[in-house]
C-alpha cells in the first residue's frame, strides 16, 4: 500500500507555511452565522492566497484546497511572521478563537461589540475573566467582579458594562469591524489610539440565485398580484414589530391591499408576534408567521417580496443577513435610521427615523405599496450596491489588504491600548463645560443642560444601579434622542463609579454646536 502524504512535517515546509493565511474560525456545519460568513469569505480569499483553517471540528466543511487543522496544535505551525486572521464572535464556538488570538496575535474580524459571554464560557480561567472585567472598566470592574466571584451574583447589566473588547484591541495587530458605527463606538470607549487599529469592512452581500417574483410566488402559493411585505428572522423586541403592526394596521384600515409575511421563528417570551397580530382582527387575515425556514426557502420568500422591512431599536451595530440577500435580489428595503443601518446609502434603502417611527413607517409603506416604479428604483440601486460595494470579491480584497498591512507592521511595535479612560485622553485647549445630573426616570436633553455658546463638554449622568441604567436606556428611544440630538457631537463615552460604589455614572464627552 502506498499512502500519499498530503502533509506531515511542520518545520521543513516553513517557507511554504509563511505564505499561508491562517484562519481561526468555526465553519459549517456549525450553526453559527459567523461560520457561514467565514466559509463564504474563505472560499473567495483562498482563490487569491493559500489558506489553512484552524477549526475545532476537523470534519468541518472547508472549501477545496483549504486544510482544516487542529487549533490545539497550531503552535507547531505558526511563528512570529505567520499571517493570521481570527473571526471573533460572542458565543461558545469562538472560545478557541479567542484563546488563539491571545496566544498568536494576528488580525481580528470582530463580529460582536460585546464579548463578555464568550469570555465567561472560557470557564477554565474564571480568575482571568474577573481580572479582565477590571481592565475593561477600571471604575466598576472590581465591584462587579467581586459580586460575581464571591456571591455568584450577576445581572444583565454586566453584559452592557463590560464589553471586554479592550483585550481584542490589545492583542490584535489590526481589527476589522463591520460598520462605522462600531468603529466610532470603540473609539468613543477606548480612545483615539484604538482607532489606529480599526478598519471598517462591511459584510458582503451573498449572491443569491436570480428568481423572478412571479416564479417564487407560484412556488410558495402566493397571489401574484397582492403586494407583499416581508420581515424575517427571530421575532425579537429590537425588530420593533410594534411599530410595524401599528403602521400596517393603519394602512389596512385605510383599505390598502397588501400581504405581510414574517419568514422566521417567534420567541413569544420576548415578543408575542402572533398574539399581537391577532389582537388586530383586520390584520390577522393578511399576516402570516411561517416559523423557521431553510436558507433556500427564505431566499424564495425574499424573491417573492415587494418590500423587505428590517427595523432595529436599540441596535448594537449588528448587520442583517436577510437585508444583504434582499439587496442581492434587488428588493426594496426599509430600515431604521440607526447604527450600521444609517451607513447604507440613502438612495439604496428607505430609512425610517427613530422619532415618530410608526407614522413615518406608515407613510413610507403607503407610498411604496402604491408605486411599483418607486419600489423598483430602490430595488435596482440595492442590487447595484450588492454587486459593487458589498460584492464578496470586493470585500475579500479589502480583507487581504488589511492582512498585508498588518504583516508589514512590526509586531514588536504593538502597544497595549488597555481600557483607557477616553475622557481623560482628550486634549482640547479650552476647559470643557462640565455638567452632572442625577437621573430620575429620564435623562434631560444634553443641549438643555449646556448653555450657549458652542463648547466642549463633559457630562456625567448618575444612576442608582445598573438596573436603573438599563431601564432608563432601554425603555424609551427618546433617551437616545436626548443624548444625541443633531447639535451634539459625542466624542467619548464610558462608565464610572461613585466613590462609595453605590452609583453608576454614564460619562459623555463631546462638543455641542450652536
Amino acid at each position: 500500500m502506498g499512502l500519499a502524504h498530503s502533509h506531515g512535517d511542520d518545520r521543513s515546509s516553513s517557507d511554504l507555511e509563511r505564505d499561508v493565511l491562517n484562519w481561526f474560525t468555526p465553519l459549517p456545519p456549525a450553526r453559527n452565522g459567523i461560520a457561514d460568513y467565514a466559509s463564504m469569505l474563505l472560499r473567495e480569499i483562498a482563490r487569491h492566497t493559500p489558506c489553512a483553517c484552524y477549526c475545532e471540528d476537523a470534519l468541518a466543511e472547508a472549501p477545496p484546497d483549504v486544510e482544516v487543522r487542529d487549533p490545539v496544535q497550531a503552535f507547531r505551525h505558526l511563528g512570529p511572521h505567520s499571517r493570521i486572521l481570527h473571526h471573533v464572535g460572542n458565543n461558545r464556538g469562538h472560545v478557541f478563537v479567542l484563546n488563539a488570538l491571545r496566544r498568536f496575535g494576528g488580525v481580528t474580524s470582530l463580529h460582536d461589540l460585546s464579548l463578555l459571554y464568550v469570555n465567561e464560557l472560557d470557564a477554565a480561567k474564571p480568575d482571568a475573566l474577573f481580572g479582565r472585567m477590571k481592565t475593561s472598566s477600571p471604575a466598576l470592574g472590581d465591584v462587579y467582579a467581586r459580586h460575581w466571584r464571591d456571591n455568584n451574583f450577576k445581572t444583565s447589566a454586566n453584559y452592557v458594562l463590560f464589553d471586554m473588547v479592550d483585550e481584542i484591541l490589545d492583542t490584535s495587530d489590526h481589527v476589522i469591524v463591520h460598520s462605522d458605527f462600531a468603529r466610532k463606538k470603540l473609539i468613543a470607549t477606548y480612545g483615539a489610539g484604538a482607532g489606529e487599529k480599526l478598519t471598517v469592512i462591511p459584510h458582503f452581500a451573498k449572491p443569491i440565485p436570480a428568481a423572478s417574483s412571479r416564479q417564487a410566488r407560484l412556488e410558495l402559493g402566493l397571489d401574484p398580484a397582492t403586494p407583499l411585505i416581508l420581515t424575517s428572522g427571530f421575532a425579537t423586541n429590537a425588530k420593533r414589530f410594534d411599530w410595524l403592526i401599528a403602521a400596517v394596521a393603519d394602512l389596512r384600515r385605510e383599505g390598502r391591499a397588501f400581504r405581510w409575511i414574517h419568514a422566521g421563528e417567534e420567541r413569544p417570551a420576548e415578543y408575542p408576534l402572533s398574539k399581537e397580530i391577532q389582537a388586530h382582527s383586520d390584520l390577522s387575515e393578511v399576516c402570516t408567521v411561517t416559523g423557521y425556514l431553510s436558507e433556500d426557502k427564505l431566499d424564495r420568500y425574499i424573491a417573492a417580496a415587494d418590500i423587505v422591512v428590517n427595523l432595529r431599536f436599540p441596535s448594537v451595530g449588528e448587520s442583517s443577513g436577510t437585508l444583504a440577500r434582499a439587496f442581492s435580489a434587488g428588493r426594496c428595503c426599509v430600515v431604521s435610521d440607526t447604527a450600521a443601518y444609517s451607513e447604507i446609502p440613502r438612495d439604496t434603502v428607505v430609512h425610517i427615523p427613530l422619532f415618530d417611527s410608526s407614522p413615518a413607517l406608515r407613510i413610507a409603506l403607503d407610498a411604496l405599496l402604491s408605486d411599483r416604479a418607486l419600489r423598483e428604483t430602490f430595488g435596482r440601486r440595492a442590487r447595484q450596491y450588492a454587486r459593487t460595494t458589498l460584492s464578496i470579491e470586493s470585500i475579500a480584497q479589502r480583507y487581504l489588504a488589511v492582512v498585508e498591512h498588518a504583516q508589514r507592521s512590526s509586531r514588536s511595535k504593538r502597544q497595549p491600548i488597555g481600557a483607557v479612560n477616553a475622557l481623560s485622553e482628550r486634549g482640547e485647549n479650552a476647559a470643557p463645560t462640565v455638567v452632572e445630573w442625577t437621573v430620575d426616570d429620564h435623562i434631560p436633553a444634553l443641549s438643555s443642560l449646556i448653555k450657549p455658546p458652542a463648547a466642549d463638554f463633559q457630562g456625567v449622568f448618575w444612576f442608582t444601579s445598573a438596573d436603573h441604567f438599563a431601564k432608563v436606556m432601554g425603555d424609551s428611544p427618546a433617551t437616545v434622542t436626548r443624548l444625541s440630538s443633531p447639535e451634539v457631537e459625542i466624542k467619548a463615552i464610558g462608565f464610572s463609579g461613585s466613590m462609595d460604589a453605590s452609583r453608576i455614572g454614564l460619562r459623555i464627552a463631546g462638543y455641542i454646536h450652536r
Binding site: 500500500m1 499512502l3 500519499a4 502524504h5 498530503s6 502533509h7 506531515g8 512535517d9 511542520d10 518545520r11 521543513s12 476537523a58 470534519l59 486544510e67 482544516v68 487543522r69 487542529d70 487549533p71 490545539v72 496544535q73 497550531a74 503552535f75 507547531r76 505551525h77 496566544r103
Partner: protein, 315 residues
C-alpha cells in the same frame, strides 16, 4: 565488536532481560519524551513513565495526555525536590529506577541528582563512542556498561550504582566486565491498548493479557506513537469494534494537527485497521483520530467512538 556466540548457543536476550540481569526488577522513566527515545523505551517495556518538557507550548499541549493506556499522568521531572517526588514514585517496591536520557551529552544535567538517589541511567550512543573508553560517560560511584545490540542496531550505555553490580548472578553471559550483548526486537513492535499514550477521556480496560480502550467522549482522540526522528514507519491501529460503520468510512486522521492520508483495511462493517505512514522527518508526532459519529453506550451512558486494542509499528 568481537564475535558473537554461535547460533547453537544463543537464546534470545532482549535489552530488558539484560538490564534486569544486571539490576534486578526495573522501572523505566523516559526523560526524553516526546523527543527522542520513546522508541527504545517502548521496546524495553510497555509502560515507561514519561516526562513532560520543561515548559512552553509543547508542555501545555502534552499535559492533556496520559500514559499506560490513560491510567498514568505524565510527570514533570524537574530536579527540584517538589518535582522529584513524582520521579521517585515511578519505581515500585523492589524495583530499580532506570532513567532514560536521549544521549550521553545529557548526563551532566542529571548526574548529581542520580548520584544522590542512586538511580540507574540508560543512554543511546554512537558506535564510535563504544570503542574508546575515554569517551564513556562516568558517574562517581557508578559502573558503566556497554549494551551492544548483537546485529549492529542501536547500542547503549548503562550506568548503575556500584553496589548493584556485585549482586548480579554468577551465571551471567558477560563478554567483558563492561560489555553485554543483547538481541534487538523484531519488527513489528506491538503496543497494546494498555501501553498507549493518549488524551482520550477513557482509560484502557481488560487485563495484562488483553486490553482495549474506547475513544470518547470527545470526537478527537490524540495519541503519541513511539516514533524517533529520522525513521519512517507505518502505524496500524486495530479497531475491533465501532458502533457505526461511518466511523471507519469517514474517520479523519491528522498528524501534528494537519490532515494526513490514511487507509482502512476493513475486516467487517464495524471493524478494521487504520493505516498511517509517518514520514521520516516527523519530530514529536501526535496522531489525531477524528471520529464522526459518537454513540451513547446504553449501559454506561458513555459517548463512544472507536475501540482500539493495539497499535502495530512497522519500519
Amino acid at each position: 565488536m568481537s564475535a558473537a556466540p554461535s547460533p547453537a548457543d544463543h537464546r534470545h536476550r532482549g535489552l530488558s532481560t539484560v538490564m534486569e540481569e544486571i539490576l534486578g526488577p526495573i522501572a523505566l522513566f523516559d526523560w526524553t519524551f516526546p523527543h527522542a527515545c520513546s522508541w527504545e523505551t517502548i521496546r524495553l517495556g510497555a509502560s515507561p513513565a514519561l516526562a513532560l518538557p520543561a515548559s512552553g507550548d509543547e508542555e501545555y499541549f502534552l499535559r492533556r495526555f496520559r500514559s499506560t493506556g490513560g491510567h498514568r499522568a505524565l510527570a514533570a521531572p524537574g530536579l527540584s525536590s517538589k518535582d522529584a517526588v513524582q520521579l521517585e514514585q515511578v519505581a515500585g517496591e523492589g524495583e530499580r529506577l532506570v532513567v532514560c536520557v536521549g544521549s550521553a551529552e545529557e548526563f551532566p544535567a542529571v548526574a548529581s541528582y542520580l548520584e544522590r538517589r542512586r538511580h540507574a541511567l540508560l543512554a543511546p550512543t554512537h558506535q564510535r563512542h563504544l570503542e574508546k573508553s575515554k569517551d564513556w560517560p562516568r558517574l562517581r560511584g557508578y559502573r558503566t556498561t556497554r549494551l551492544i545490540e548483537r546485529s549492529g542496531g542501536p547500542s547503549f550505555f548503562l550506568l548503575a550504582p556500584d553496589q548493584v553490580m556485585p549482586e548480579r548472578g554468577s551465571d551471567r553471559r558477560v563478554r567483558s566486565p563492561d560489555t553485554e550483548l543483547f538481541d534487538g526486537d523484531d519488527n513489528p513492535i506491538i503496543v497494546e491498548a494498555s501501553g498507549l499514550v493518549h488524551d482520550g477521556g477513557y482509560a484502557s480496560e481488560g487485563d495484562h493479557q488483553y486490553s482495549w480502550l474506547w475513544t470518547g467522549p470527545s470526537s478527537h482522540f490524540r495519541l503519541i506513537p513511539p516514533h524517533p526522528a529520522g525513521r519512517a514507519s507505518r502505524i496500524e491501529l486495530c479497531v475491533p469494534r465501532t458502533e457505526d460503520r461511518a466511523n471507519l468510512d469517514r474517520i479523519a486522521v491528522q498528524l501534528n494537527g494537519r490532515p494526513v492520508a490514511h487507509a482502512v483495511d476493513r475486516w467487517s462493517d464495524t471493524s478494521g485497521k487504520i493505516i498511517i505512514d509517518l514520514p521520516e522527518s516527523t519530530l514529536r508526532p501526535a496522531l489525531t483520530l477524528v471520529v464522526p459519529c459518537m454513540t451513547a453506550d446504553a449501559n454506561s451512558g458513555r459517548l463512544l467512538g472507536v475501540c482500539i486494542d493495539k497499535m502495530i509499528i512497522l519500519q
